[in-house]
């Protein structure tokens, strides 16, 4: 009798809390953390393959944890529903999860037939007792991580409206062969693969907005020349090999142009060139060093580094009018700017006291925020395409390695081995 009363009370209260929960917009980490229960995926038929279940769990846990949007329920406290395969909302015992205080529940199954892997993944809204997102993934057994990353992307899309960046790739420069070469890895540092074999010096990669193409600088022909490379075919083409520097190439987000620094006339200036290297426009004309451009997402402006007022500072230039404005006023050495793909902020590195740390600033020069506080040097910040994360290099653990953190500077973690001497990461677009 008493039980029934409680259930009635619950039934009355639930719809209220439910509507409240679904109204909440989660966009920035730290605002609130959604309590989420991440269960271990279960085998639908045949024997359990613990490695598959563990890998799905590990990837989802790491990806979702990096967002800073979730608080994970302790798996040790999970009740019998965690052991049940039922993936329809009518089959889930939501009361159990409610008891643990979880608002969100991730459940799933896998089945391995020969080499064919099928993963069923579900995100449930515990409060509303309904399915929020369901995905079936088909592939090979080696695609486990790919599938789990993809579901993490999907979870972010269903909760925030913006798909996650976890299925993408990070290109970077690493010296682990003894020479600086171009490398590519998953966004969690898995599956690193070397892309170039120049056995020279390869620098500063950037992804094209369309397709899986990179631009970078290489000394392989005894001059710092700009190259393009298709990742799948491996085909390489020289874009600009003018006398002097052809460095820090950045694909325009819209249109087929590359911003690049050339010193062909004896002084570093920023130019817009075509994919085949023809000069479209010269953007700077100053005796000083002008270098290291980064595009605004609408391709209308660039932010770049110039020492025209003495020390290296950040400036913005309107691509159409050439109007140039100083962005940073604090500090004495501000470099490597990266314009957020959301358009609102610019991340950069500042040297102070002999060390680099990362900062971000609004595009009008206001609201400067320090993001890292040592130890070591934090450099080369680049945004994830959704603007949620920054990937960068740090020598906090010894030699330079690639790190990732949230855009507000929290949640930093290392992605590559500390001894690999890796730097200059760039996050790909939709893979």
């Amino acid at each position: 009798m008493r039980m029934i009363k409680y259930f009635l009370l619950l039934a009355l209260l639930l719809p209220l809390t439910a509507t409240a929960a679904t109204e909440i917009e989660i966009s920035a980490p730290g605002e609130q953390r959604m309590p989420l229960a991440l269960t271990t995926f279960l085998p639908t038929d045949g024997a359990a393959v613990d490695e598959i279940a563990a890998e799905i769990n590990e990837v989802l846990n790491a990806d979702l944890d990096l967002t800073g949007l979730f608080r994970f329920a302790d798996p040790a406290s999970f009740l019998s529903d965690a052991e049940r395969i039922g993936l329809y909302s009518t089959q889930v015992d939501f009361a159990q999860w409610r008891l643990l205080g979880a608002d969100l529940l991730v459940k799933g199954t896998y089945s391995l037939q020969g080499d064919q892997l099928v993963i069923e993944a579900r995100l449930f809204d515990v409060v509303n007792r309904r399915l929020k997102s369901g995905r079936r993934y088909l592939g090979r057994s080696t695609d486990v991580r790919r599938m789990a990353h993809s579901f993490a992307d999907q979870i972010l899309k269903d909760l925030t409206g913006e798909i996650g960046p976890f299925s993408q790739r990070i290109a970077y420069v690493s010296k682990q062969t003894g020479n600086k070469e171009l490398w590519l890895m998953d966004v969690d540092g898995h599956a690193p693969v070397r892309l170039t074999d120049h056995r020279s010096i390869v620098l500063n990669p950037d992804f094209s907005p369309l397709g899986k193409e990179l631009t970078f600088t290489s000394y392989v022909a005894n001059n710092p020349d700009l190259y393009r490379k298709e990742i799948y075919t491996g085909q390489e083409a020289k874009v600009s090999s003018r006398q002097g520097l052809n460095v820090a190439g950045r694909f325009a987000p819209i249109g087929r142009e590359i911003a690049v620094t050339l010193t062909k006339d004896g002084n570093p200036e920023i130019y817009l060139i075509s994919y085949s290297g023809a000069i479209h426009k010269r953007l700077t004309n100053n005796w000083a060093i002008d270098i290291d451009p980064s595009w605004s997402p609408d391709s209308g402006h660039l932010v770049f580094v110039s020492n025209r007022l003495g020390n290296p500072h950040l400036f913005t230039v309107n691509v159409y009018t050439g109007e140039t404005r100083r962005l940073t006023t604090h500090g004495k050495y501000n470099v490597t700017p990266a314009w957020s793909p959301k358009g609102d902020r610019i991340a950069f590195a500042r040297q102070s006291g002999g060390r680099f740390d990362l900062y971000s600033i609004k595009t009008d020069g206001s609201d400067e925020r320090r993001l890292t506080f040592g130890p070591g040097n934090q450099e080369h910040p680049r945004w994830s395409p959704d603007g949620r994360f920054l990937v960068y290099s740090s020598d906090a653990d010894g030699k330079k390695a690639i790190y990732v953190m949230r855009a507000d500077g929290t949640g930093a973690r290392r992605l590559t081995e500390a001894g690999d001497d890796s730097s200059h990461p760039a996050w790909s677009g939709r893979w």
Partner: protein, 180 residues
Amino acid sequence: MKIWRTLQYSLMVLALTSLLAACATTPPPSASTADGQGQVAATDVSQQPDVKGVDGSSMSSSGVSDHVAVKGLQRINFDFDQFTLTNAARVVLKQNAAYLQENSGVKVVIEGHCDDRGSDEYNLALGERRAAAAQQYLVSLGVSASRLSLISYGEEKPLVAQSDEQGWAQNRRAEFKAIR
């Protein structure tokens, strides 16, 4: 039978000589002094650190350049974040200019280098300015500009690995390599 044995011997000799020839065609850049341009010092091609070899090969670097350090051409150093020539640098450049006037056949690539404290890209620009400053001074001393080309390595090729004032000072430099 005897003919067979001589054939065997000659084959062995042939194999040996071709082996030697193969070695001779790929000398390390520091080993050759045949150009008569004075003693050849070690080039920074050999400064590559140990190789892990991701693809199982123990191959380190192939020859990055055919530019060779020459004894008559001394390197110069710069102050932090500067590309203006110090008095000491001007003295060295005058000696370099004298060497180049004596050895009129020598063409030189001037390498600009930085210490590792700045931003990589900014340092590429700074390194080029250092090389350009040296070039301009040599030209003002009468060396033909057509004999002097530039390349900046920024902070990519430090002379010494040590990360302190002394090491940084050594790494902020311009080097003069003969082109062969």
